[in-house]
Symmetry: C2
């Protein structure tokens, strides 16, 4: 059964298609999670993630669960009941940061923007100055709306206000510029199934030294076993020996290492450019057919383009036919954008003209 299904072109919000070398890495024979050969690969992943995040942070590794778990890992370790968090909310993922923070007993201050627009930096910084929160959170790439958040100057304001800058880089990392250290970002997570070009299953995170110092002053232990930073570090860092915490998802780590190797071989700047060109081509080609971008120029996320459909098109029906008849997946709108937009991902190896051509010609065929 397994080999009889042909490959679907994954142009939704992720996962995207993965390369043959990543697939080979997945299928590699297992090693034990304390095997020196595996630990070497884990070290390679950590080192390569630092380059992709553009950070010197020692604490940089993949959390052993999917992207959303990266958010939980960061909040559960760096935010305590009674703390304040300022969150930019302009889509599903900012909303999730706010919702989990509330569940954890924090005071949540939302800085909102219309879905499809970036958070106003001045309004966000003003809230940070006013509240002096423990954490200030922004979504770098809002997967629900296709917005890329400008980050300039935010890190400085967070430092002045004593706030840790939390950034969700799930859909931006390796597809658009991400500069953790020069942004002054302190606690950051991503996912493997977007522009990193690996399967879903790991949440790369990076933590600044400043954030580690804040962590050391927690008043209560982290209310989690699986996401407990110190316990995880005893395994993934292991200065003076590795302590067992959980059994790392070996095959996923193999795959991530292979995917990161491909990224660094291509070069980050070349990769960002490739994503930008593919997105521009998509907007132009679908623009000619009457699709209009949800997000204004200058705030667009290249790995994921959101488009309003031409009048009179039954988006769900066409999206369904694309998938079932033509094996092309595109994403639906979420929340208030459900039924109104498509989310078209051109991520990792899919960020190229051929993907766009196949999508556009197929949509034309369906509509004709």
């Amino acid at each position: 059964m397994i080999t009889s299904i042909d490959e679907t072109l994954l142009l939704g919000p992720g996962p995207c298609n993965i390369s043959n070398s990543v697939r080979d890495a997945l299928a590699r024979p297992l090693l034990g999670h304390l095997d020196p050969g595996f630990l070497e690969i884990m070290e390679s992943v950590k080192s390569r993630l630092r380059r992709v995040f553009d950070t010197q942070n020692a604490v940089t590794f993949p959390v052993s669960a999917t992207g959303s778990a990266g958010m939980e890992f960061l909040l559960v370790n760096f935010l305590e009941a009674g703390d304040t968090i300022v969150v930019g909310v302009n889509g599903v993922f900012g909303g999730r940061i706010a919702a989990l923070s509330e569940k954890l007993g924090a005071k949540v201050v939302r800085v909102e923007a219309e879905w499809g627009r970036a958070i106003d930096r001045e309004a966000f910084c003003e809230a940070v100055r006013r509240e002096s929160p423990k954490v200030a959170a922004l979504v770098s790439g809002e997967t629900s709306t296709g917005v890329y958040q400008p980050m300039d100057g935010v890190g400085d304001v967070c430092r002045e206000s004593g706030a840790l800058l939390f950034v969700d880089c799930v859909t931006s990392l390796a597809g658009m510029p991400v500069h953790i250290d020069s942004w002054g970002a302190d606690i950051v997570f991503s996912g493997t199934q977007k522009c990193l070009g690996a399967p879903p299953g790991l949440a790369p995170v990076t933590v600044s030294n400043r954030a580690l110092e804040v962590y050391r002053t927690r008043s209560r232990p982290t209310p989690s076993f699986y996401f407990d930073l110190d316990a995880i570090l005893a395994y993934v860092d292991g200065e003076g020996g590795r302590s067992y915490h959980h059994t790392a998802p070996i095959s996923m780590v193999f795959a991530l290492d292979a995917a990161l190797g491909e990224i660094l071989e291509e070069g980050l700047e070349a990769r960002w450019k490739r994503h930008a060109e593919a997105a521009a081509y998509l907007r132009s080609e679908l623009g000619e057919m009457g699709f209009t971008p949800l997000v204004p120029e200058g705030e667009r996320l290249n790995p994921l383009t959101t488009l309003r459909l031409p009048e009179g098109i039954d988006e769900a029906a066409i999206r369904g036919r694309l998938l079932t008849e033509h094996q092309i997946e595109v994403g639906a709108g979420l929340g208030p954008l459900a039924g109104k937009i498509w989310r078209v991902g051109l991520m990792a190896s899919n960020a190229r003209e051929e993907s766009v051509d196949r999508l556009v010609s197929t949509v034309k065929g369906i509509l004709s």
Copy 2:
């Protein structure tokens, strides 16, 4: 680099080696997590898990993280701050249930046994009767000590006392008898990298209707986003449509489905018998060399045998040489058993005489 490493024989506490068909499944092209083709595989996994757990529980699925996350998923949903939990502690994994319960603010009553012995059922049941706890927890297969916990009668006492019976089946599932429904177990988790013969990365769980009723009476929302039962069910169950919660680890689900298919093809009873025979052969062969079982007969976990080493053997040195010179992994002792025992796993496809022969002849060669 990836293909140049030969296959290591994984005879530690897991992961074990995986079959070629599981490796092929891992390497399969990705599908979207809402693709009907993927959801069909998810349904297959749920249905096959029910057969392996021997349960009719509708709520049976893999949590999207490694085995330890299964424990956290269950405790965070079914135990609240202020609740009481009775925990059998006779090794690392019972200790973890107790420790996380404390972190979550529960009152923890430990029923202890020596490491290497089963929990005394009468003492455990007596504590359950006395405390009428929200949850009563036992470890079916203690991976740190190699003990298989007898379960007869415990479920009845839990029901009479209004307690949910929590069982850790990480190392027993598919390697020794596990009968969730006839045990009267309510909330149960396992891991994929032991006798299920899949890579680490998923935590199969099953939840009784009785437990679901208790969950509906929570006084506060589950203090987690990633492990929130209702939010996960809206995706994995999806009666009336699937809601996005997180991106499922597609490749891992493919692999688990393939592994479960192999298990059901072999048949559970045949598989338990194969694990029992392999373990008996191991104990006999290593017994002749002076290795002595830690666990008395009748309490032994067949998938993982724990053995004290003969006098005068430097266990760490030999274990190291087994791995680095001969590509055979065996497990070290944990906690008070560190340096004193080996943990030898014969799990899934490794549960056969050939694995034992290779280990025994290699150890003999090193010692001679």
